[in-house]
C-alpha cells in the first residue's frame, strides 16, 4: 500500500517549506526510522527558529520516531492520527531531550499550509513568526 514516492515527497516538501510558523517552538532535530521489512530508511529533520532542514540518512538527534513505513505513510496522508499511532504502537517516540514535546512534533504532519483546507493564510502570522525568531522563542 505504501507508495514509496509519497514518503519521499513528504520529506521533500517539508525541506522546501522554508519558514513554518507552526514549528517555531519545536527547535530540535528528529530522526525518522521507517521500517519496511528488513530495511530501515532514515531521515533527519532539523528545525531551528521555524526553519526546516531535511537530510536523507541518519545522524544525531534529540528524538527518534520509529515505525512501519506504511503506518507512517498513513499519517502523512492524514488517514491516521499521529497520537493514535503512538498509543497503538505503530509508531514509537524516543526522547534524548525530555523537553521535546510530542504535541509539537505532531505538527510536522500538518501538511503544507494550502492542504489544511479552508485555512485562511494570514500574512500577519508569518510576519509575526519571523519577528519572534529574532527574540528567540521557547522550545
Amino acid at each position: 500500500m505504501a507508495d514509496s514516492d509519497s514518503v519521499e515527497r513528504f520529506f521533500d516538501e517539508l525541506g522546501r517549506r522554508g519558514h513554518e510558523p507552526l514549528l517555531d517552538r519545536l527547535n530540535s532535530t528528529g530522526r525518522f526510522e521507517l521500517v519496511d521489512g528488513g530495511q530501515v530508511e532514515e531521515w533527519l529533520v532539523a528545525v531551528r527558529g521555524g526553519y526546516i532542514t531535511v537530510t536523507r540518512g541518519g545522524g544525531d538527534a534529540d528524538y527518534v520516531l520509529r515505525g512501519e513505513r506504511h503506518a507512517f505513510d498513513r499519517i502523512i496522508h492524514g488517514d491516521a492520527g499521529s497520537v493514535a499511532a503512538l498509543i497503538r504502537g505503530t509508531m514509537a517516540m524516543y526522547r534524548k531531550d525530555p523537553d521535546v514535546m510530542f504535541g509539537l512534533v505532531t505538527r510536522l504532519f500538518a501538511g503544507p499550509p494550502e492542504s489544511r483546507r479552508e485555512w485562511v493564510d494570514d500574512p500577519r502570522l508569518v510576519a509575526e513568526g519571523q519577528r519572534d525568531r529574532a527574540d528567540g522563542t521557547h522550545g
Binding site: 493514535a84 498509543i87 497503538r88 504502537g89 489544511r116 483546507r117 494570514d122 502570522l125 519572534d132
Partner: protein
C-alpha cells in the same frame, strides 16, 4: 474518608484503583472498578481469601489520596467479633500499586494459613466500560518463574499487568498462593506488586517508572501544601474545605508524558481522568492565586496540541483548542476520536482568557510571547471557523456525526440547550456564554498584542471587533420582555429563550451592558426561580425541561456558581457574590468539604441539605477549584500592575479571613479581611453561613 464503607478510590494522576471496602476488585463489564492507567483497565479482578474464606471490612483509612489501609477480618460480617485473626491490607500507588498484607494472630494457638489472591484483567478501555463495548484482541495469562503476567494484544497494541511477590509464592494463571505460619500473637507480612506496562513492538515498556512510591508522593503533596497560601479564618468549615480542595487538586494533578514531567489538572474521577481543554482551563483559572503552576502547564500542553488542519473525525480545525485527549484502545484504533478530540466551542476563547489572566498574576511574559502564534491562531479560529452561521457568533455543530459531541459547551448533555417550552433547537447552536468568552478573549488579546506582541494595530482591531460583538450580542440575545439574555441562538438566529445559569458567565466576561441589563440579569440569578438557597440552578424552575436532579437542567454546579460569583464582583454586586459564596461553602460541609460535581436544585428550605446527584464525579477538578475561586471573590483579590489589590466583602457569619503568602508577580502578598459591620453573635456560632434565600 470513605462513606459508609462504600467504594474506595486511591489515585495518582491518571492512575487509579477503585475497590470495595475490603480492597477486593470484582469488576463487571460496565462498572468502573479496577486498576486504570491511561484509560485502560489493567486489573479487573483482585480478590483475597484466607483458607478459602472471603474477608470483610472493619474500617478503611484512605486519608492520603495515594494510599489506603483496609482493616479486615476473615468470615462473614456476623461472626467477626470472634475472629482471632485480623488483616491489614495497605495499598499504595506506584507503577500500578503495591500491596502489603499483614496478618495478626490474636489467638493462643499457632496457625497455618493459605493466603490466596485471585487476579485477572479484561484490559477494558474506559470507553468500553462506559458504553459496554466488546474486545477485539486476545487476552492471555502466563506464569513465569516468579511472576504472573496478564496480557492483551491487538496487533501492535500490547498491554500487560505483571504480578510479583517479595518472597516465596506459587503462581498460576488465575492468581497466586502464599502460605503463612503464625505463632500465637504472631505477625506475618508479604508484599505484592502489580505493575502495568504499555509494550512497544520492540518489547520495551513505554510507561516510565514515573513514581517511586508513597515517599515521593507524600513529599510532593507536602511541598504543594507548603507552597500554597495559608488560610486563617474564624469559620472552621472554610479552613477544612480549603485544605480538602488543595489535596484533591493535588490528587487530580496529572503528568502525562506529553507534559514533560509538569502537571496539569485532570477533570475528575472516575470517568474524566484525562486532559480536558475546558476543565483544565477553568480549574487553572480558579486555582491561579493558589497554585499558579497548573495554569502554565495547561497553557503549554493545550498550545502544543492545538488543531492544525481540518479533520472531521476529530472535529479539528486550525487554531482550535482540544476538548479531550485519551490514550485507550478505542483511540489507538480510531474507533473513538479522542486522540485528541476537538469538539468544543469554548476552550479556544477560554485559552486566551487564561493566558492573559495567568500573565496578570504571574508576570510570566515569556509564555505570552512563546505562544503568540497559537494565540493568534486561536483568535483566527473564532472569526474564521467558529462563525458557522455567518452572524458573527461562536457556534458549534459536530462534523463527526457518529461519536462527536452534540453540545460543545460546558452543558454538554443532549437536552441541556432548550427553549422555554422544552423544544430543542436546531444546529448550529451559538450559546450565550461562548459569546462572552469570545468578547473577553478579544479584549484580553488586545492587551497582550499591545504589551507583549508589539502590534498596537492588531490590538486596536481586536478592541473594535470586541466592541462590535458586544453591541451585536446585546441586540440579538437580549429578550426584552423577559429581561435576560437568551441561552443561545439556533441555526436560523432564533432566540433559544430558556432562563439559564449561562447568563451568570456573561457577567464574568464583561459582555453585559452596565445598568438596566446588568441589574435585570442579577435579579434573575438571585431570584427564586434560579437561586435555590445553596446556589444558582443550571436552569430556571419554570422552564420546560427543569428537573432538580437533571444533569444540566436544574442541578446546582459549584464550579458554575464560582464563576457567576466572580462575575457579580466584576459588576460590583458584592453582596450577591457573597451570598452565592455562602451557599456553596455551606453545602461543602455536607460533603465533608469535598464539593461534588453537582447537587440537586431543590429549594434549600425544603430539603435543608444539598441532595446528592446520583452519578456525580468526585473528586472533580473544577468543584475542588470552586472554593478557591470563591475565596478569591469574597476577598476581592485582583492584580493591578505589580500589586495585589484586596477588596473584601465577606459572607455573613465570617468575621475575618487572612490569606497569607499569595504568590504572584509581587512575590508573596497577604490579604486581610475583617467584617466591619455589627456582628450577630448567633450568626457566628451558627454552623451554616446563610440560612436561606432572603
Amino acid at each position: 474518608m470513605s462513606e459508609a464503607l462504600g467504594q474506595v478510590t486511591i489515585l495518582d494522576g491518571n492512575t487509579f484503583v477503585v475497590s470495595d471496602a475490603v480492597g477486593d476488585i470484582e469488576a463487571s463489564p460496565t462498572d468502573p472498578t479496577g486498576l486504570f492507567i491511561y484509560d485502560t483497565r489493567f486489573l479487573s479482578h483482585w480478590v483475597l481469601t484466607i483458607n478459602d474464606e472471603r474477608l470483610h471490612a472493619l474500617s478503611v483509612d484512605d486519608v492520603q489520596y495515594f494510599e489506603a489501609r483496609y482493616f479486615i477480618v476473615p468470615g462473614e460480617a456476623t461472626v467477626y467479633t470472634d475472629a482471632t485473626l485480623s488483616v491489614v491490607r495497605q495499598r499504595t500507588m506506584r507503577n500500578g500499586f503495591d500491596e502489603e498484607l499483614t496478618i495478626l494472630n490474636h489467638g493462643e494457638e499457632p496457625v497455618d494459613l493459605v493466603v490466596r489472591v485471585d487476579a485477572g484483567s479484561d484490559f477494558a478501555d474506559l470507553f468500553e466500560v462506559k458504553d459496554a463495548l466488546g474486545k477485539k484482541g486476545k487476552r492471555y495469562a502466563r506464569v513465569e518463574d516468579d511472576r504472573l503476567i496478564l496480557g492483551y494484544q491487538r496487533q501492535t497494541f500490547h498491554r500487560t499487568t505483571t504480578v510479583t511477590v517479595g518472597g516465596p509464592a506459587r503462581f498460576d494463571d488465575h492468581g497466586l498462593t502464599l502460605t503463612a505460619h503464625l505463632e500465637p500473637r504472631g505477625r506475618w507480612t508479604a508484599t505484592i506488586q502489580v505493575e502495568a506496562q504499555i509494550l512497544l513492538p520492540t518489547g520495551e515498556n513505554a510507561l516510565p517508572r514515573w513514581r517511586q512510591g508513597h515517599e515521593l508522593l507524600e513529599r510532593d503533596l507536602n511541598a504543594l501544601l507548603r507552597s500554597t497560601p495559608k488560610l486563617e479564618c474564624d469559620w472552621q468549615p472554610l479552613k477544612d474545605t480549603y485544605r480538602r480542595s488543595l489535596v484533591d487538586l493535588a490528587a487530580l494533578r496529572f503528568s502525562p508524558q506529553i507534559a514533560g514531567g509538569q502537571s496539569l489538572p485532570a477533570a475528575g474521577l472516575p470517568w474524566f481522568m484525562s486532559v480536558f481543554g475546558r476543565d483544565s482551563i477553568l480549574t487553572s483559572l480558579q486555582a491561579l492565586p493558589f497554585v499558579p503552576k497548573l495554569a502554565a502547564t495547561t497553557l503549554r500542553v493545550l498550545a502544543d496540541f492545538q488543531g492544525t488542519r481540518r479533520n472531521d473525525h476529530r472535529d479539528e480545525d486550525p487554531g482550535r483548542i482540544l476538548h479531550e485527549l485519551r490514550f485507550g484502545e478505542s483511540m489507538a484504533f480510531e474507533e473513538r476520536p479522542h486522540a485528541p478530540y476537538y469538539g468544543t466551542a469554548d476552550a479556544t476563547p477560554l485559552f486566551l482568557v487564561l493566558l492573559d489572566e495567568y500573565e496578570r498574576w504571574s508576570g510570566d511574559a515569556d509564555l505570552v510571547r512563546a505562544v503568540e502564534y497559537e494565540a493568534r491562531a486561536a483568535l483566527n479560529w473564532i472569526d474564521e471557523y467558529a462563525d458557522l452561521t455567518g452572524m458573527g457568533y461562536v457556534a458549534y455543530q459536530r462534523r463527526n456525526l457518529e461519536t462527536g459531541l452534540e453540545n460543545q459547551c460546558w452543558k454538554d448533555s443532549w437536552d441541556s440547550i432548550s427553549f422555554r417550552d422544552g423544544r430543542l433547537p436546531g444546529f448550529p447552536r451559538a450559546t450565550c456564554e461562548c459569546q462572552g468568552y469570545a468578547y473577553d478573549a478579544k479584549m484580553r488579546a488586545a492587551r497582550m498584542a499591545r504589551q507583549f506582541w508589539r502590534d498596537p494595530g492588531y490590538a486596536d482591531r481586536l478592541e473594535q471587533e470586541a466592541a462590535e460583538l458586544k453591541a451585536r450580542f446585546n441586540r440579538d440575545f437580549w429578550i426584552a420582555d423577559r429581561g435576560y439574555y437568551a441561552l443561545a441562538l439556533d441555526g436560523e438566529g432564533n432566540q433559544v429563550d430558556a432562563l439559564s445559569s449561562n447568563i451568570g458567565h456573561l457577567l464574568w466576561s464583561g459582555i453585559v451592558e452596565e445598568g438596566e441589563k446588568a441589574d435585570a440579569v442579577v435579579g434573575h440569578l438571585m431570584g427564586a426561580k434560579m437561586f435555590s438557597g445553596w446556589g444558582v440552578r443550571t436552569l430556571g424552575e419554570d422552564e420546560g425541561r427543569y428537573n432538580p436532579i437533571g444533569y444540566h437542567v436544574g442541578t446546582v454546579w459549584p464550579f458554575d456558581n464560582s464563576f457567576i460569583a466572580w462575575g457579580l464582583r466584576r459588576y460590583g454586586y458584592k453582596e450577591e457574590a457573597a451570598r452565592i459564596a455562602a451557599g456553596i461553602l455551606d453545602s461543602a460541609q455536607f460533603f465533608n468539604g469535598r464539593l461534588p460535581e453537582a447537587f440537586g436544585g431543590y429549594e434549600r428550605a425544603l430539603t435543608r441539605y444539598p441532595v446528592r446527584y446520583p452519578t456525580a464525579c468526585s473528586p472533580q477538578a473544577w468543584s475542588a477549584g470552586a472554593p478557591l475561586l470563591l475565596l478569591r471573590t469574597v476577598l476581592g483579590l485582583e492584580p493591578s500592575g505589580d500589586n495585589l489589590v484586596v477588596n473584601p466583602a465577606l459572607p455573613g457569619g465570617i468575621s475575618h479571613i487572612e490569606l497569607l503568602d499569595i504568590p504572584g508577580r509581587w512575590g508573596l502578598a497577604d490579604a486581610f479581611a475583617r467584617e466591619r459591620g455589627e456582628m450577630d453573635p448567633q450568626h457566628v456560632l451558627h454552623p451554616q453561613l446563610a440560612s436561606g434565600p432572603g
